[in-house]
């Protein structure tokens, strides 16, 4: 790789890359993000490569592994270019028929096309799939087109053009001004205006400044940052290099979770390529800008997503936060001014430079601009990553993009913003999703995790679940968070066991308030959100557990009983075989019976029973406390 010494050389390289790619040559792109890889994408790629080789077609058809397309539910996903034919749930055994289709006549393989469960129609192209049709993929648009391990692919789709524009004559003030006018707000959760943060950094006069990319995506149920790093790492690097120019930083850090091995690997490759081409290093593109990026892997601590804890972790200490001010912009890494932004925030910067602040500001709502990426997971038909303009409603997210709730169940709540967020009830489905509206509803944007819950989800159990998580992850430095999470978890557990009292509810509320007001960092200040929102919207469920010893969703083990409905049981013995404690009695073709004393309520019988004869019931008469 020759080092690029000027913007002109970069443009020439791009032209050469574009010329080298024959756009009429068929290209099979297979999603190789973590989800599709787990579903067997590598085996599919291998089978395609072997199949092409066997037929002597390896020079006529290209096979490419790309980043995450977002529709994880249907993986492994594949697109055939240039037509853009979209296939889902591809298996290695399908390789032969796919190759045959591409090499002769190009008739699509009907059975691998996506079939819309609502209309029953077969869909040919990705953008016709309802899951994608309502999305606006500003950050994720290129994920399905480029090989993340090839910088040339990124150049082909216009990569590093924003950097070229910046070093060709935009002053730091102009770049910061653009970011301010765009209305971009931090995508990590709190939504602080990025331009304001950058402006504050710009005013600092220190000789050494740092920038950090916060890729410690710790919220359970969220994986947007991972997918962006896996699928388009150069877009994040480009944003950081532009940031270095605007903020006067000579060194940058990417703090990424070690739990994301593929993201780490792709970042390493991308950093290496950018250094080889001279897009990182000394005197980048002869602009006088010198900037380097180091990769730091997190060691598994949720609190390290908090900026002061993250800095402590990079410095080799335990990730304990410290009070702000001083803010990192004043006194950050090694005591120097530091700007920390989320992965998606950095990746938005090249878009703003390329397409203009006004374009970016035209997307979204009055105070929340641009697009937001959500991971739509849980009890929803179409799980995956979704990028939408700010301001779409929950109803659009769940029913138009998400395809509704599986098995015809009722939607109960949507949990937004991870453990710091809250549960929004089905009655608020028309809520437009932006920073202010979510905060008003008691939740928060967070990093974009969106977990859908149906009638079979117990809201007290969910509150307990989050509190258990936060109790584990509280660093223990400040008293309100350390003790508060423990006490809240203990009370919630008691309620789940049917041992709660009505006095517990005001106690939960009081302690939640205390934690919010007095905790040291964001973790403790928001830790009670799941408790507060479930109490606000689902108080009747708490009361059912307390007064009637009943779990309405039939989840809490101490409050449920399993039995078999004799008229429905066909005596197939499937439940007998799967029962871990030999609690089910019954011979073949005879009605089975569950011995309650032996039953551990694991629910395995319920999973396997075809005629749906296994019943779960809950109520005081069944479970005396």
């Amino acid at each position: 790789m020759p080092k690029l010494h000027s913007v002109q050389e970069l443009n020439e390289l791009r032209t050469a890359c574009l010329a080298a790619a024959d756009s009429s040559r068929p290209c099979l792109t297979v999603c190789a993000g973590s989800g599709c890889t787990a579903a067997g994408a590598n085996e599919v790629l291998e089978a395609l490569r072997r199949g092409l080789e066997k037929r002597g077609l390896e020079d006529k058809v290209t096979v490419k592994s790309t980043g995450c397309h977002g529709f994880c539910e249907k993986g492994p996903l594949m697109i055939v270019w240039p037509e853009g034919v979209f296939y889902n749930r591809v298996a290695p055994a399908d390789a032969a028929v796919l190759i045959a289709s591409v090499s002769n006549g190009r008739r699509p393989v009907e059975r691998l096309l996506y079939k819309d469960p609502v209309s029953g129609k077969t869909v040919l192209r990705e953008d016709e799939v309802p899951f994608y049709a309502r999305q606006q993929r500003v950050l994720f648009g290129n994920n399905g087109r480029i090989d993340p391990k090839q910088i040339e692919d990124y150049l082909r789709v216009g990569g590093y053009a924003a950097l070229a524009k910046v070093v060709s004559g935009l002053t730091p003030e102009e770049v910061i001004g653009s970011v301010q006018r765009s209305g971009l707000r931090g995508r990590g959760g709190a939504g602080f205006p990025t331009g304001t943060k950058w402006e504050a950094m710009h005013r600092q006069t220190a000789n050494q400044k740092y920038i950090i990319c916060n890729a410690d995506e710790g919220d359970p149920g969220a994986f947007m940052d991972r997918s962006l790093l896996e699928g388009n790492p150069h877009s994040v690097l480009e944003g950081m290099i532009i940031g270095a120019h605007a903020l006067g930083a000579s060194e940058g850090y990417i703090y990424v979770r070690a739990e994301y091995p593929l993201a780490v690997q792709h970042l390493r490759v991308a950093l290496h390529q950018a250094e080889e081409y001279g897009l990182l290093g000394d005197n980048i593109l002869d602009s006088g800008l010198s900037f380097r990026i180091k990769l730091v892997q997190g060691a598994g601590a949720f609190v390290c997503g908090e900026e002061t804890a993250l800095i402590a972790s990079i410095e080799g200490r335990v990730g304990e936060p410290h009070p702000r001010p001083p803010y990192p912009v004043q006194k950050g890494l090694w005591g120097k001014p530091t700007v920390i932004n989320n992965v998606k925030t950095w990746a938005s910067v090249p878009q703003i430079i390329n397409r203009g602040a006004e374009w970016y500001a035209s997307i979204g709502t009055e105070r929340s601009k641009g697009t937001m990426v959500f991971s739509l997971v849980g009890k929803i038909n179409n799980t995956g990553l979704v990028e939408v303009p700010m301001g779409v409603t929950l109803r659009q997210m769940i029913y138009e993009i998400g395809g509704g709730i599986p098995k015809g169940k009722q939607l109960k709540a949507v949990q937004i913003g991870g453990p710091s967020g809250g549960c929004i009830p089905a009655s608020l489905l028309d809520l437009p999703i932006d920073y202010e509206e979510l905060t008003k509803a008691g939740s928060m944007m967070g990093s974009g995790g969106m977990v859908v819950m149906d009638e079979d989800t117990c809201m007290v159990d969910i509150a307990r679940y989050f509190m258990e998580f936060l109790e584990d992850e509280s660093c223990g430095k400040c008293f309100p968070c350390r003790e508060g999470t423990q006490r809240l978890r203990a009370i919630l557990t008691r309620i789940c066991q049917g041992k709660g009292t009505e006095e517990d509810l005001p106690l939960l509320e009081e302690m939640s308030w205390m934690m919010k007001e007095t905790s040291l960092c964001g973790l403790g200040q928001t830790a009670a959100n799941p408790v507060q929102t479930t109490l606000r919207y689902f108080r009747d469920e708490y009361l059912a557990h307390i007064r009637e010893k009943r779990c309405p969703a039939k989840v809490c083990r101490e409050l449920i009983v399993y039995s078999i409905e004799p008229t429905a049981c066909d005596g197939c013995q499937a439940c007998v075989r799967v029962c871990a404690t030999e609690a089910i009695l019954g011979e073949k073709k005879k009605v089975h019976r569950i011995e309650t004393a032996k039953c551990i309520k694991c629910g395995a019988c319920l999973e396997v029973c075809q005629p749906k004869a296994v019943l779960v019931s809950s109520g005081a008469s069944l479970c005396p406390s």
Binding site: G35, A38, Y260, A299, S375, K379, D472
Partner: protein, 180 residues
């Protein structure tokens, strides 16, 4: 054995600058090499970086990815992220523990398995998921747990042939189960 221990650790220590900022990356390398942090090695790290042993221990116990206990031949990581939680992850965990006769997450007596829980490995679309070593098993149910574990159970030489046949079947069942 003891000399082996320090030899590898010295090699790791040699790759990093002897500064406090190297502490966590060094511990990560040691964890990746030994699958836990042996006490003798931690003492050596403390010496080399001139960081008090108590602080090394603080870091080693603060971060989730470090373990002070040796782990078994196969590491079973059960995801309990929110998506896995609402789709039955805790029940899968219970079944795994029951099958391996463990009262709680930990290592089996024969050191063939170590079970740990993790909070989200980012495969929420495929929930509930379990990662065994580097392989992800997805869309799990309790009924699939037995077959999954069998893929990793220690084999007796006499049964080898039979098991290999079953294993292929199980593997196919697990794979096809994921795509239903």
């Amino acid at each position: 054995m003891a000399s082996m221990d320090t030899e590898q650790a010295e090699k790791i220590l040699g790759q990093f600058e002897a500064a406090r900022a190297s502490l966590i990356p060094i511990l990560q390398e040691i964890q990746a090499t030994y699958y836990y942090l042996p006490q003798t090695v931690l003492r050596r790290v403390s010496q080399k970086l001139d960081v008090p042993l108590g602080e090394v221990y603080h870091a080693a116990t603060f971060y989730n990815c470090f373990s002070l206990e040796p782990v078994g031949s196969h590491l079973v990581q059960v995801c309990l992220g929110t998506a896995c939680h609402v789709r039955g992850g805790p029940r899968v965990l219970d079944r795994i523990l029951r099958d391996l006769k463990l009262p709680e997450p930990g290592t089996t007596r024969d050191f063939s398995f170590t079970v740990r829980t993790v909070r989200c490995i980012g495969c929420c679309g495929l929930a509930p998921v379990v990662r065994v070593d580097n392989r992800i098993h997805h869309h799990l149910t309790q009924a699939k747990v037995g077959g999954m574990l069998k893929l990793y159970r220690p084999k007796l030489a006499a049964d080898q042939e039979q098991i290999t046949a079953n294993e292929t079947e199980d593997a196919q069942a697990t794979l096809s189960a994921g795509t239903e």
